[in-house]
Symmetry: C2
Subunit: 394 residues, 2 copies
Amino acid sequence: MRVFIPGVDGYLGWSLALYLAARGHEVAGADAGFRRRWVEEMGSDSATPILPIEERLLVFKETFDGELRFWDGDLCDWDLVEEIFTEFRPEAVVHLGECPSAPYSMIDREHTTFVQRNNVMNTLNIIFAMRDFAPDAQLVKLGTMGEYGTPNIDIPEGFFEVEYRGRKDRLPFPRQAGSWYHWSKVHGSNNIMFACKLYGLRATDVMQGVVFGTRIDEMGDDERLLTRLDFDEAFGTAINRFSCQAVIGDPLTPFGKGHQRRGFLPLRDSMQCLTLAVDNPPEASEYRVFNQFEETYDVTELARKVQKVSGDLGMDVEVINVENPRLELEEHYYTPDHQNLLDLGYQPTHDVEAEMKVMLEDLLRYKDRIEAHKDALLPQMRWDGRHEKVHYLK
Amino acid sequence: MRVFIPGVDGYLGWSLALYLAARGHEVAGADAGFRRRWVEEMGSDSATPILPIEERLLVFKETFDGELRFWDGDLCDWDLVEEIFTEFRPEAVVHLGECPSAPYSMIDREHTTFVQRNNVMNTLNIIFAMRDFAPDAQLVKLGTMGEYGTPNIDIPEGFFEVEYRGRKDRLPFPRQAGSWYHWSKVHGSNNIMFACKLYGLRATDVMQGVVFGTRIDEMGDDERLLTRLDFDEAFGTAINRFSCQAVIGDPLTPFGKGHQRRGFLPLRDSMQCLTLAVDNPPEASEYRVFNQFEETYDVTELARKVQKVSGDLGMDVEVINVENPRLELEEHYYTPDHQNLLDLGYQPTHDVEAEMKVMLEDLLRYKDRIEAHKDALLPQMRWDGRHEKVHYLK
C-alpha cells in the first residue's frame, strides 16, 4: 500500500517508515524539520544520535532496497500538499505532522497561536487534499488520550450512548483537554469527524497514550536507523524522561502528588497499532476512534519501575516529586476503554520493565549526550504563564 | 462600563454600540471592514443603505454626545489588539468580530481555512489580551446554537449531568456542528472554556439563535443609524432573506423539506440579551453558556408567517421549497433549554409577526437595492463542494 507519513522525521514518523517498509508498504514522507528546531529551541537534543534527513534517506534505501520518497516542507503550504498528493497518490495517510507538545504550546502567546494554527491548518490541508486527490484513501490521524482529560466517568472510544431526560442518542464523548496543544488536537478531531460526514472520507482518529522506548526490532543493530529520543521538558514524555534522568544519576521527578494516571504504550506497540489501523481501513464516510495504549499506570508507579530496573543495571537513583508546572488533577478516576485495537488483533507487549531495560541500556551508551543538555530536564514552563524552574518537593 | 466591540461595523456590532451608548456605557470598537468586502464578494450589498464607518462615527458622536473610539484593523494582528487593550482598558469585551457565515466557509478550501484561521486566531488574541491587560474584564463571546447541531436529546446550556455505566459527572455537552464555520465557533468555545480555567478569566459564551429584523428603537427615524441587513446566500439568514424575497415578489424558499427547527430572536432581543450578559458578569474563572433565542420555529412556519404579514401589507408571495444546499436533517427533534437569560430578566418580544411587519415596511423603502442584487438570493454554494444554483422543488 502507498502510505504517506507527514512528520516522517519525528519520533514516531521515522519508526513507522521503517516498520511499514519492512512489511512491504511503499512509504513516502514529508517534514519541515520543525521537531529538530523545536528541541534545539528548548536547549536540548535527541539522546540518541540521529542523522540528518538526507542521510537517513540513504540508509533507508540501503536497508530496504527501495526509496522513501521525501518532500522537505511545511504542510501548511497547500501547493506542497497538492504536489505530494498528485504525485504520490497515497492510499493511506498517517498524519504525524503536528506539533506534539503541551508545554511547548504553553510557553507564551506566540507558541500557543503557532501550535493551534499549525495543527489545525495542516490537518485541513490534508482533508482537502484527500477530498480532491485521494477520496478513497484512509486517514489515520494521531490524536491523544489527553483530548478526553480526566472525567469522573469511564471514557469510551470516541462516542457514547447517552440517556438524558428520558431520551437516548449516540454522541461524541465530551473533550476536556488540558493544554493549548491538546485542544488543537480536539479541534483537529472535530474537523476530521465532520469531513468524513461531509466528503465521505474514511478516518481513524487515534487517541494515543504516552509512548516510551528507544527502538523497534526493525532498527536492529544499525545505530543509523535509531529514532530520536527527547528528554527536554517539552518533547520528552514521562518514562523517556525518567530513563534519561536515571542514566545521569538525577532523581526521577513525578509532578506534584504524582498520582496522575495515564495510558502508556511502548514504541513497538504504537507501530503495531498504527499498522493495524492502516491494514484494516474504515468504510467510506466512517469516522472511528481508537483509544491506543497498552495499559493505564500511575506516574509514580512508573517512576518506581524505572528506579527498580535502573537498580538491576547497577544505577542507584531516587524518586523525588517536584512542583507540578501543569494545571491538572493529581489523583483522579481514570478508566478509558481500549477494546477496538484488541479486536483488530493488537497483541500488547505487556512487559513494561523489559522495555525499560532495553531503553536504559540504549541510553547508557548516550549518557554524555544527555549530560550535555541536562538543564533541559526539569520544567520551567508553567501553565499559569510563568517561566520558573520547578522546585523539588521535600 | 467600558465595552469593547470587535466587529462594531457589522449587523449586531453597530446595533449593540447604539444600544449600549443609549444606556450610558462607554463604547469602543474595531473592524477591518471584512463584512462589507465579503458581501461584495457574494455579489450583494446591504438592503439598508449604510454609511462608511468614518461617517457612522460622526453620526454616533452627534447622536450620543460622546465618542465611539474606533480602530480600523484586523484582530488577528496582535500589535493592534495590544494597542487597543492598553489604551482602552475594556471592562467588557463583546466579541462580534468573527466571520459569521456557514455558506462562506463552505465555498472552497481557501474560504474554509480563512474562516477557521480568522475566527480561532482572533479569539486567541483576545484571550491573551484579557489575560495580560484586562484580567478582571469579562468576555461575552458570540457563539451559535449551530454548535450543538440537532441531537436526538434535549440541549442544555453548555453543560449536562450525565450518568454513564453507573457513575456521574458534569460535562460539556457534545457539539455536532454542521459547517466549517460552525466548527470554528466550537473551537473558539473550547479555547475560551479552557482560558477561564487556566487564567481565571470570566466569560459568557452565547449560543445565539438566528437573528432577524432591521432595527432597534435606538435607531429612531434617523436612516443614518440603521444597521446593515444582508440577504445574500452567505450573510443573509432565514427570516431576513424571506422578507427581502417578499419585498421584490420572489417566492420564499425554505431548503429541502423545510422542517428544520431552529431558535430565532429579533435583533432587539439579541441586544437585550447581550446587554444582560454585560450587566451581570460571571465570577472569576467562571465559564457560562447562554442559549440565546426567543423561541424555536420550523422554517416553513416562519416562511408562512412572512407570507401572511406580506399579504397584510398588500404583497402576494408564494412559498416554494428549493433543493437543500446543506447537509442537514430536515425533520428532527429539537428541544434546547433557554432559561439562563430569562433568569437574568430577559423579556422576550414574543410578537414575531409585529417584528416582521416593521422589517417589511423598512425593506419596502429599499426594494430597488434588493432588486439590484436579487441574483444573490438563491444559494449556489453546496455543502458537497459544488457551485450550482439550487433548483425549485415543484
